[in-house]
Symmetry: C2
Subunit: 262 residues, 2 copies
């Protein structure tokens, strides 16, 4: 089975330029629903479900391979090679920002430009680096996920959505519940304990960074760190809350994409 | 109660220019969901539910006032006057195309440009005019609506959607079921027995016509008639089927809007 099939790849839209849409933790490719018509109007659009996510998540996930961002980046590169893609626009949300960074530092030929929405190379604070989390915050998070996944989702979803948008919270909860709890736990360990700063420093592809001014997972300082670390980067801050602006503030994101992707 | 409240008006988005989104028969303002982010990225967006439609449809509908397109046009003009709007972009689908034509011929100051998606000034064939329907077709339609509304919806919705899009059929069925059957019947009589050709001839506002190449309610000849009758008109044909391209082919519609609304 090809990676395109394994990850429930979809290819829609017209246009000569290809855009790859790669969602973040706890959602699936339906996270792009509000932006999809805008992309389809000007791009050949490829989307898929990350390993572990979506209705076939349990089949696509491998605890070893997907124990680091580089495993996901391998999935992406293999999928792009299967389709014979090169010089693409890549749009990643959250963990997919770092998957894109890893793939682009290894295979710059595949990417023309990268959009990162709510990305973070490291969630733990470090000397001279604000990630926003201390180890004890993460330990608590993992513990409550393991203890009662359903209860954890009920608390986690509205905080991550960050704005009073019942439909977005309901959708995000639904896709979180769709993940097998042990896979969800392993995925969040992989994300929150990752340190992708070295990979980011190797990215030569132009990167457009987008984040909100109040994102529980990504402090403003993270966006600023990325903008400084990437040789060719822009940073747009949306004056709104939440980690999922492509879902809760799609018009703001479109405005930025129109300016940045021309 | 203001018309804005009565028709469940929503005002979203940014931008200095105002766009009014007015849906067609059997849907409500959620019909704009796929296009809304595109509009919100560049317009101050006003939408509402037509009288008789949406969850408050039974309260807003008046059998006399809404027995002609001009009654709906009065609602629109009053709502725009309440909000102090002028020189707006107006986007209408289906029956709202003719509501816009009636309003613009009476009050040209309110409109800068009009987009008509799947509009028809007359559904009945006439001498030198192809509307697509004979009186016996309409009699049959009204009869089956009156006999068993639920069964009629089950047959009507997929034909009007016109493409194999289960979600669109389910959504359209849901909003059709939401209408009180006697109101739905009176509304379809009002639409199908209307003749708005004289009102269309008086429209001086620039009009961008959009329709699909295969629309059960609107033959190609109707779009051509409108393009000929309106002094300043463009006509774009989407090479797809269905009466609801803003729902089933939003990327195609966006491509046209970007070209026409600049």
């Amino acid at each position: 089975m090809s990676w395109f099939e394994k990850l429930r790849g979809r290819r829609t839209g017209a246009g000569n330029r290809v855009v790859i849409l790669s969602h973040g933790f706890g959602t699936d490719q339906d996270a792009w629903t509000s932006l999809r018509p805008w992309f389809e109007a000007r791009f050949d659009v490829v989307s898929f479900d990350l390993a572990g996510c979506g209705p076939m998540g349990a089949e696509s996930y491998d605890f070893e391979r997907h124990g680091s961002m580089f495993g996901y980046a391998d999935d992406l590169v293999e999928l792009m090679d299967e389709l014979g893609l090169q010089g693409c626009t890549y749009v990643g949300h959250s963990m997919s920002c770092m998957i894109g960074a890893a793939a682009a530092s290894a295979r710059p030929d595949l990417f023309e430009q990268i959009v990162m929405i709510g990305g973070s190379p490291r969630y733990l604070n470090d000397a001279d680096y604000v990630g926003g989390f201390e180890q004890e915050n993460l330990d608590q998070l993992f513990e409550s996920m393991a203890a009662n996944y359903q209860a954890w989702v009920a608390g986690f979803a509205p905080i991550v959505v960050g704005v009073d948008d019942r439909e977005a919270v309901a959708d995000f909860s639904r896709t979180l519940f769709q993940m097998r709890p042990d896979i969800a736990l392993n995925t969040s360990r992989t994300i929150f304990e990752s340190d992708m700063r070295q990979a980011v420093l190797r990215v030569a592809t132009p990167v457009h960074l987008i984040q909100t001014s109040s994102d529980v997972a990504v402090p403003i300082q993270v966006g600023e760190w990325l903008a400084g670390a990437i040789s060719n980067a822009s940073l747009d801050i949306i004056d709104a809350a939440g980690h999922l602006p492509h879902i809760t503030a799609p018009a703001e994101v479109i405005r930025i994409l129109e300016r940045r992707l021309g």
